[in-house]
Symmetry: C2
Subunit: 168 residues, 2 copies
DNA sequence: GGTAGATGCATTCATGTTATGCACACAGGT
DNA sequence: ACCTGTGTGCATAACATGAATGCATCTACC
């Protein structure tokens, strides 16, 4: 979150509300738009850390706003973020936790969990397909996001088969 | 985290330190073992919420321990967790954020980011292969975790190609 | 034409979860 | 004397959600 805001501020100075809109507009409907409260909290932390500086701007007919500027230190941190590769996929898979832990308790058996989860994944896959077909082809970013989610979902489905073979 | 501890306590009552060991032993080296401090914090919250109850147990030659028991309310919450399907894959992909935001700032171009990231993913894939070959075949849980991570990583690699085609 | 209610702009605060790290206490081995 | 293992607690901070606030403008309706 911190770095995302820094990146947007590197493009041009902005205030909190504007950043929210920029994120929504940039990533489109496929993306869960971040909580506005969190944006302000994060901006406060960034300022405290000297990565941005705020300037109060008065407005007629509107509430005042606080415009944030990137500092040299902020730009430096941003470049290191961009320059280092991003970490890999999560190993901590929530469903897998359930799959391993639930049978210990005698509450459910593995086959039931796997079958239910497969139905759920397939339903999600249908939703993603719908979303993709409703997305205007001009919105490349949203389409790529959806396709990425579909690839991950397919990997989950494949993994489910693998677990079924092994734990049956 | 809360539910994981509840699941372990459903098997048998335990104290914090024991839960840490159980998690490590159950999920093996492929899994980043959770912070011990976090376990105690979580146990405290669970007790506050009436999901577990604690009993002090004195020990000779050892520090005292607090053994936690699952309550009826806790067992109920656990079954609802088990019964509902787990949510799908993350749509919020960290690398993708970088891929979209970085060019806005003029700091880096997309091709460089994609190529660097591909090298990184390939290197992670090698690490996972090594880890898999070092894992004893008896440890099914660890092997499945690693295979799951590999499937996700492959999905990330495929997606990278897709992004490259589209954003080139 | 006036006013009641919805919507947009802009920020703040209260609350809760997750994660890390350090500190403490004591036992046993080297 | 020092390190490892057992066992717990607390301080701090990041992260996330939701609700509350204030004011202006737009819309609907009688």
């Amino acid at each position: 979150m911190r770095l995302h805001l820094l990146a947007l501020l590197a493009k041009e100075p902005a205030h909190g509300y504007e950043l929210k809109q920029a994120l929504e507009q940039t990533f489109g409907s496929a993306y869960p738009s971040p909580n506005i409260g969190q944006i302000y909290v994060t901006l406060g932390r960034l300022e405290k850390d000297g990565l941005v500086r705020a300037v109060d701007v008065e407005q007629s007919n509107r509430p005042n706003k606080k415009v944030y500027y990137l500092t040299a230190k902020g730009r430096e941190l941003l470049t290191t973020w961009v320059d280092e590769p991003t970490e890999g996929p999560r190993v901590r898979d929530e469903f897998f936790m359930k799959l391993v832990l639930a049978p210990l308790t005698g509450i459910a058996d593995r086959m039931a969990l796997i079958n239910r989860q497969r139905r759920h994944y397939l339903s999600l896959m249908r939703d993603l397909n719908d979303l993709l077909s409703r997305t205007p082809p001009t919105d490349r970013v949203a389409m790529l996001l959806i396709e990425g989610a579909m690839l991950h979902l397919q990997a989950d489905l494949d993994w489910l088969e693998r677990c079924q073979e092994d734990l049956a």
